[in-house]
Amino acid sequence: MEEEHTKVTKTNQFAQYHVVQKGDTLSKIAEEYYGDKMLYPQIFEANQDILTDPDKIRPGQRLLIP
């Protein structure tokens, strides 16, 4: 419940973003930022406004890293 209150959104000026590069996957990005590729759903959930499938990301997309 508390986690709901501390979710960072795109209106937060201190939110971190990752611009998708060729060859990136959500798992790879999760490993880079969290040290654990299994946490990719965190990134997927935070970017549901632009992602519909965790396996489909495109270079140039700007992803919020919660």
Partner: protein, 205 residues
């Protein structure tokens, strides 16, 4: 002139001189009392005009000036009018300094209130961003590059301290003490920026 007449004449002159000097002394005393009364009234009125603001912005200085005015009144009560008149300029000068100091503090407080708004937006957003990342990293089986579990533990502790500091800053602001609030807010934001760096969150993709 007979010796008797001369003696009577001298006695009359002495009496006149004595009455005159008594009247002069009484007049002088009355003037001193009036001057002293006026000096005390002026000091009291001048201090009363700034008292409320001084109690808020410069309580220690107010206490000191209050003591000076009290001493003036004590001298007045003892009939030391000359002492009152002699010390009044110094007391008035202290009151004027207090007024100037309070005016400067009020101005500083107003400016701090305006600057506060930036921090009131930034710091809570920082806390949210940091907490969000800490929550996610807490689920991670490994730490990302440039962060080990010891440093992560320190960041978590420091974020809790930051929350407490921010609550204190907000409380100061709510009570109208913008200067104190701003000082605490600046420190809180500096801590937040350090934690963002430690978690690698300043790197923008």
């Amino acid at each position: 002139m007979t010796p008797n007449n001369a003696a009577m004449n001298l006695a009359r002159k002495l009496t006149i001189a004595l009455v005159a000097s008594t009247l002069l002394a009484a007049g002088g005393c009355s003037r001193a009392k009036d001057d002293a009364t006026r000096a005390v009234s002026t000091a009291e009125a001048s201090l009363a005009a700034v008292r409320d603001d001084a109690a808020r912005y410069m309580p220690n200085e107010l206490q000191s000036v209050d003591s000076s005015v009290t001493a003036l009144k004590e001298s007045m009560a003892k009939g030391d009018y000359k002492v009152v008149v002699a010390n009044a300029p110094s007391v008035n000068s202290s009151i004027e300094s207090l007024k100037s100091g309070v005016a400067a503090k009020k101005e500083e407080n107003t400016a701090a209130g305006a600057e506060w708004n930036t921090y009131a937006t930034d710091v809570p957003q920082m806390v949210t961003a940091l907490q969000s990342r800490i929550d996610t990293l807490g689920k991670s089986k490994h730490m990302p590059k440039n962060l080990d579990s010891t440093a992560f533990g320190t960041v978590k502790t420091d974020l809790e301290t930051l929350k407490v500091d921010w609550a204190a800053a907000s409380a100061a602001h709510d009570s109208g003490n913008n200067i104190e609030a701003l000082t605490k807010a600046r420190a809180a934001k500096a801590t937040g920026e350090r934690l963002l760096t430690q978690l690698g969150m300043n790197a923008k993709g």
